[in-house]
């Protein structure tokens, strides 16, 4: 069989048109799955998994929007966190702390005044070596071997508050009173806690199981929070850690916190 140039060009151009046909037809019929990246439906069938979850907080972006509490609101709404309206009973999963308190080791006499009092976003650091887990007498708080999340089993918590004392970051809150009446809007798919139980951030493990990013990461309008697998060299967090100089809270304590800050 002999193919001359004319025939070859005819054949290849027809093939190209034929290949282009499917996406064009899909686009015309409204089936645009080939043209746009598909985001899978939140379901237990496609969970987000990692060997070591970690978060990078870009403080420059975070501070650029003054007075923003989008992440805090989203988290506290999602997890039925009560608002007692008084600092003595306060329960918090993620909150803001002046920079000089969050990073007192970094603070000095001549530090930029603006940064010194800047409201720094802080939460549970999901330490690699968590002191709260070591002291818990009932193993109500434990470290998940699969992905490094420092988890809480509220069924088991007896309210001894050893963990509250052990945590060097103040990430744990105790329910001194019944939280139910102080929850503004109940979320049916997440439990509340009772009086006498300690609570804290769980890296939204119930959302990860459904393939969703943590509520705070999703809610941030400045995209200042990045969540990903620390052990995957291709991940977004690893890229950020490679490109930027990052600090962690109280590294000298040896808890190996897994929240990184870009200042």
């Amino acid at each position: 069989m002999k193919i001359d140039r004319r025939k070859f060009i005819k054949f290849t151009s027809l093939t190209t048109i034929g290949l282009a046909g499917t996406p064009i037809a899909r686009a015309l019929t409204g089936e645009d799955s080939l043209l746009a990246p598909v985001k899978p439906e939140p379901s237990l069938d496609n969970p987000l998994t990692a060997r070591r979850w970690a978060m990078v907080i870009d403080l420059r972006k975070c501070l650029s929007k003054e007075g923003c509490t989008a992440c805090i609101n989203a988290c506290h709404l999602t997890h039925n966190v009560p608002d007692f309206g008084n600092p003595k009973d306060e329960v918090k999963w993620v909150w803001k702390e002046p920079f000089e308190h969050a990073f007192h080791e970094q603070e000095h006499e001549y530090i930029d005044e603006k940064l010194k009092h800047a409201p720094t976003l802080v939460m549970c650091n999901h330490c690699d070596n968590p002191p709260c887990v070591r002291v818990c007498p009932t193993q109500a708080t434990f470290k998940r071997e699969t992905d490094g999340v420092v988890m809480m089993d509220w069924h088991r918590c007896i309210g001894c508050r050893y963990c509250v004392v052990a945590c060097p970051y103040g990430s744990r809150s105790f329910n001194w009173r019944d939280p139910r009446p102080f929850i503004k809007k109940l979320q049916p798919d997440f439990p509340t806690r009772t009086r006498g139980v300690v609570e804290k951030c769980t890296f939204c493990e119930e959302r990860l199981a459904k393939g969703l990013l943590p509520a705070c990461v999703e809610a941030c309008p400045e995209k200042a929070l990045t969540f990903g697998d620390l052990e995957n060299p291709e991940s977004e967090v690893r890229a950020l850690l490679k490109e930027n100089y990052t600090i962690r809270r109280k590294p000298a304590l040896g808890t190996q916190p897994e929240i990184y800050y870009i200042i």
């Binding site: 237990l44 434990f142 109940l186 439990p191």
Partner: protein, 128 residues
């Protein structure tokens, strides 16, 4: 025995009073009372057969709790190949959405007071 007559009569009266709830309920036909539960109308089949659920639902829930919280496993596979999310609020209470007519009737009858709903939210509480 002194005053045998008085003592024996006294004992008989005592026994009658102490067993009063028992024979009173028999006489009133309440001894055969069984709590009537309201089953969901539009659901086809529970995660396990009724005999097992009736006797061991608390064990199943305890297993589910440990699987989800401690092992991070969330999907329950029934022997006949159906899949469910292991969740009291999001699976059980989606069909059995009337806690008072289902859970409470039996629990009250047996005088058990499970603390599930101290934290987990029953469907009714969402209605403002």
């Amino acid at each position: 025995m002194y005053d045998a007559g008085k003592i024996i009569i006294g004992l008989i009266i005592f026994l009658i009073i102490i067993t009063f709830p028992v024979w009173y309920n028999i006489a009133m036909g309440k001894a055969t009372y069984i709590p009537q539960l309201e089953y969901p109308v539009d659901a086809e089949q529970c995660v396990a057969d009724s005999a097992y659920i009736r006797a061991s639902h608390m064990d199943l829930l305890n297993t589910w709790r440990d699987k989800v919280v401690r092992e991070g496993e969330r999907v329950y596979h029934t022997p006949d190949g159906r899949r469910f999310e292991m969740s009291l609020s999001n699976t059980c209470m989606k069909c059995h959405n009337k806690k008072e007519e289902f859970c409470d009737r039996c629990h009250n009858y047996l005088a058990v007071d499970p603390y599930c709903w101290d934290c987990h939210i029953e469907p009714k509480e969402l209605v403002p």
